[in-house]
Amino acid sequence: MTGVFKALADPTRRTILQLLKVKPMTAGELAGHFEVSKPTLSAHFAVLREAGLIGSEKDGKHVTYWLNASVLEETLLTFADALDLNLKPGGTDAPAGEPATRKS
């Protein structure tokens, strides 16, 4: 459960989960929603995958991700979003330290 809390503590990762609620998406499709570098995004995917919140499958050059959350984990995601939870000082805990702004 620690991994789940860690994963949900970051707004970028929560946005990824919200996007994956709609349908499975490739890494490229997800990257289109963020202004962060691909390595940073990959690090976020790794954290989410380690927490078991997303699943992934490699198909040729593409990696497809899908939401893999239980009802409890989805409830925690909703709460974290509602409270705008951001546990790290200074915003995201993205490894590369880049701003994780969502493209409008």
């Binding site: 709609v22 349908k23 995958r49 699943g55 499958e57 939401l67 893999n68 239980s70 009802v71």
Partner: protein
């Protein structure tokens, strides 16, 4: 990061099916034995009901309801199992994430089935002991305990069920399938919470009508969701 090695799930499904079959046979046998004991005891008692109608009215619940509930659950599991594709060579290669999720959902289903059958059998056993005067007030706490136990089982299964893998090819509309998987999971969890909370806190006279209304609402909701799901799968705009 992404493991591309496929996991063969055929042996898991075989084991799971064998385990489920054994569970149902064992549970149904125990339930039938209890039914026979309850029936024989009621017939042997002085002042046993004389007409067929009276016998049915008095003994339907402890004798008939238990085994029939287990049979109904067995038929439902069997029908659900038939929705699983059955490749001719019996092989089920799966992505590791999907394989893990299938195991989780199947195990949660096994817990639900076993738990539900145990609750049914426990209900019969409690009735038998109560009729022998060994468990006073069992008609009150027995009903409440049954609701709480079934509620907990629903919460456990509903929580895991959104993880059921869906096909990811765009033409299979994975978004629609995921959405309704999640919806089904949420509804099952909410139903479980309502059953458990009702069983714990509702006053006894209100409990039976409340459960009746809840059951009806759940049936209508599940029917509506099934229809919406089928319509969404056929809609050209759905993803």
């Amino acid at each position: 990061m992404t493991d591309t090695t496929l996991v063969e799930m055929g042996p898991f499904f075989e084991r799971h099916d064998r385990k489920t079959l054994r569970t149902y046979v064992a549970m149904l046998s125990i339930s039938l034995i209890l039914s026979a004991v309850i029936f024989a005891r009621a017939m042997g008692e002085a002042g046993a009901p004389e007409t067929t109608g009276a016998i049915v009215a008095e003994l339907w619940m402890p004798v008939g309801q238990g085994p029939l509930t287990i049979v109904a659950l067995w038929i439902a599991s069997w029908a659900y199992g038939r929705t699983r594709p059955s490749p001719p060579d019996g092989r089920f290669p799966m992505n590791p994430d999907d394989a893990r999720n299938v195991e989780r959902v199947a195990n949660a289903g096994a817990v639900f089935v076993t738990g539900f059958c145990v609750v049914v059998i426990a209900g019969q056993a409690v009735w038998l002991l109560w009729s022998m005067g060994l468990l006073p007030h069992a008609e009150t706490w027995g009903f409440r305990a049954t609701l709480v136990a079934i509620g907990a089982l629903c919460v456990h299964f509903g929580n895991v069920s959104p993880r059921l893998p869906t096909p990811r090819a765009p033409e299979a509309k994975p978004g629609v399938r995921m959405k309704y998987n999640r919806l089904g999971g949420w509804m099952t969890v909410i139903l479980g919470l309502l059953l458990a909370l009702g069983g714990l806190f509702l006053p006894l006279p209100a409990l039976a009508p409340a459960i009746g209304v809840l059951s009806l609402a759940v049936l209508v909701a599940f029917a509506a969701i099934t229809i919406m799901y089928c319509v969404a799968l056929r809609s050209p705009r759905a993803q």
